[in-house]
């Protein structure tokens, strides 16, 4: 094992791999800094680029994007009070008041430091937890694995979105979309409606670009015309002071607390950074010596929100890599990219591709100082993105989506599919259905179907197999408990 680790580290420490992490971080921060555009979207439109790179460069590039987008989201939150990504909403609460006081620069630096620290913490948690967890999951039989997938999907459907039935419906639609194309067992054609493009299934890239990027663009288009066409008024970055060492030290405990919260919340499938951020922010306010400053421009508030949201980045990958259940929307995209690169996330990943995995872990850690340096040197550049008119940015992003869909297989049919997925995603969002369960279910469909069929073949068609095996029974009971608990709580949250 030690020689594999060393080999992995050597594989990661090439100037090319490090350069691609750096490019990824840069692209992630830039897209994240566009007001209103999410990190999931940044990853979705940048995924096709990674297919032109070998896995040991393409994956680091995407990991860089994932990291960068979470920090990038805080820049517009602080400067214009519009979060770049939904998790950065909590950053607005304190970041914008600080910017109004003329302390935008130090607020962004606080966000940068706490993001980097939170991210590093969760990367370490990922590295420590991944191998034992994968080893444990390797002992699972097909029935146990199916139970695990059912539980994962239940958690995802219950915690994301506003209503449990809507979450489950979203996941079920995802399962049906995943079934399109050839059936792996019998070779039967399913739901192709006579279209050749659909024979290989609905492509990952067109689906992701449509659901996450094009639908997002369409939602942005709804804004009032003068908001789109005029230059956004931003707080001034110039004349601000750099962050004092003492201020960072004062927030040390907060950053650690938020990092732990973010890591735990992130490791649970389906719970994204938005939840982690608000839990982290609330906890910091309760524990703070100056809780009255929260919401009026507290550096601790910025640190609490940013550390928690970035800590999700690494932790999201724990269930993704070890169990093959994506931790959230971005993790689902990363998993799709892993599969496309020939690395199938799941328990056997660490057996079959141990060296590549160690290389990826090394690059994850290296990405953090890279983000720190870029954030430090290029803050002004990233802040300039915030001031570009949306009327110019939106068509550029739309064009990017079209080209991204095209270059996947040099096929215009994929672009049409992406546009259709886009309008579908837009309607879905408007009706308040969460998108994450759909994408996660779509990704795990082949796995779920295979383990389901294997389990029943082994048992000779006896359906009780899922309830007689202890591990499988445990997961299914857990799923039932989660479902009942979340339905119970429903009326309090309101029917919407």
């Amino acid at each position: 094992m030690l020689d594999q680790i060393i080999e992995g580290i050597m594989m990661a420490l090439t100037w090319k791999a490090i350069l691609f992490v750096a490019i990824g971080v840069f692209a992630g921060i830039t897209v994240g800094a566009i007001p209103g555009l999410t990190g999931v979207m940044a990853t979705a439109i940048l995924v096709p680029f990674s297919f032109f790179m070998p896995p040991e460069l393409g994956i680091p590039f995407l990991l860089g994007v994932h990291k960068g987008a979470l920090f990038g989201g805080s820049i517009p939150a602080i400067l214009v009070n519009t979060p770049g990504t939904p998790p950065a909403a909590a950053t607005c609460l304190d970041g914008y008041p600080l910017a109004q006081k003329g302390e935008a620069k130090s607020a962004i630096q606080m966000s940068l430091y706490s993001s980097t620290l939170g991210d590093t913490f969760s990367d370490i948690a990922l590295i420590v937890a991944a191998i034992p967890l994968a080893a444990l999951a390797l002992k699972f039989g097909p029935a146990d694995f199916f139970g695990l997938l059912v539980m994962g999907l239940t958690v995802i459907s219950s915690v994301t979105g506003s209503s449990v039935p809507k979450g489950i419906i979203s996941a079920l639609i995802g399962l049906l979309i995943g079934a399109v194309g050839f059936d792996a067992v019998t070779g039967a054609e399913r739901f192709t409606f006579g279209f050749d493009t659909l024979q290989g299934g609905i492509g990952l890239v067109p689906l992701l670009i449509g659901l996450f990027a094009i639908s997002e663009v369409l939602i942005q288009v709804e804004k009032k015309l003068h908001l789109l066409s005029e230059k956004p008024t931003t707080a001034h970055l110039k004349g601000g002071r750099p962050l004092k060492m003492q201020e960072l030290k004062d927030s040390g405990r907060t950053i650690l607390r938020s990092s732990i919260i973010g890591t735990i919340v992130g490791a649970i499938p389906g719970t994204g950074s938005s939840i982690a951020t608000f839990i982290g922010y609330g906890a910091a306010q309760r524990a703070s010596k100056k809780p009255e400053e929260f919401g009026k421009g507290s550096y601790e508030g910025v640190a609490a929100a940013e550390a928690a949201n970035s800590a999700v980045a690494g932790a999201d990958l724990i269930p993704t890599l070890t169990l093959g259940i994506p931790g959230g929307g971005t993790a689902a995209i990363l998993m799709g990219a892993f599969i496309a690169q020939g690395l199938r996330p799941g328990p056997s990943l660490f057996e079959e591709n141990a060296v590549t995995m160690y290389a990826i872990f090394t690059l994850l850690l290296i990405g953090n100082p890279i983000m720190l340096i870029q954030g430090w040197l290029l803050t002004d550049l990233f802040a300039a993105v915030v001031t570009i008119r949306q009327a110019i940015l939106i068509p550029c992003i739309l064009l990017f989506c079209v080209i991204g869909g095209y270059i996947y297989h040099n096929n215009l049919g994929d672009v049409e599919l992406a546009l259709i997925a886009g309008i579908f995603g837009y309607v879905f969002r408007k009706l308040k259905f969460p998108l994450a369960p759909l994408v996660i279910a779509y990704i795990i469909t082949p796995m779920a179907e295979r383990s389901f069929k294997q389990a029943l073949l082994i048992s000779g068609g006896d359906y009780t197999v899922f309830f007689t095996k202890p591990i499988s029974l445990f997961f299914i009971l857990l799923a039932a408990v989660i479902l009942i608990l979340s339905v119970w709580k429903q009326p309090k949250v309101s029917g919407e």
Partner: protein, 203 residues
């Protein structure tokens, strides 16, 4: 949105019944005939049937919960309607742009598409519209060729790049001026723009 939820759940319920009895039997075609004694699990339609069945049950539960829990009905103003129509126009525009790529090619159709979208989004300053609509697609074209060796759709014309740029430039500038001219004319009449302006002034 109680009424909305009821409609959605009814639509979903209808769809799942329709798929169970029509789409699944007709759209799952096995190339090899399945033997009679094959266990049901191995049939290619087993998993989709199960999924659709659960979908029907969950739709019913959504229907029940939306009847039971009353929430405020949202009302949508004229602002909302104009926003939705903008979404629809941009979507249709993008779709026809993608279709046109096959025939006219990237280099000619993209600048025009970009210019229309920018103008639709309310930016009327041609000093910004024309350079963005030309420079950005051109830069992307070069970027994809040099870094990934990807040729973006060339269309049926296959004109050399330099002519494409010149023709594109002429087409685009005349087109942009025409659109801006049209928009200026409309601006005086359209009530939406007037309310937009007053809002801006009050803000």
């Amino acid at each position: 949105m109680r009424k909305g939820s009821i409609i959605i759940s009814l639509v979903l319920l209808g769809l799942s019944v329709f798929s169970y009895f029509y789409i699944i039997p007709t759209q799952i075609i096995s190339s090899i005939p399945i033997e009679k004694n094959t266990p049901a699990v191995l049939h290619p339609d087993f998993f989709p049937r199960l999924t659709v069945f659960i979908l029907a049950i969950v739709s019913i539960s959504l229907l029940i919960s939306s009847i039971r829990y009353k929430t405020d009905e949202k009302t949508y103003g004229s602002d909302y309607k104009s926003a939705i129509s903008r979404v629809v126009i941009i979507f249709l525009l993008s779709y026809s742009y993608v279709l046109s790529l096959k025939y006219i090619g990237y280099a000619l159709s993209t600048p025009i598409f970009m210019a229309i979208v920018i103008i639709l989004l309310g930016l009327r300053n041609w000093r910004l519209v024309i350079p963005t609509a030309i420079a950005f697609p051109f830069a992307l074209n070069i970027f994809f060729w040099y870094s990934f060796k990807v040729v973006l759709p060339e269309g049926d014309f296959e004109i050399s790049a330099i002519y494409q740029i010149i023709i594109g430039l002429i087409l685009l500038s005349s087109f942009t001026f025409f659109l801006i001219f049209l928009e200026r004319k409309n601006e005086v009449k359209s009530p939406e723009n007037i309310s937009d302006k007053t809002e801006r002034e009050t803000a």
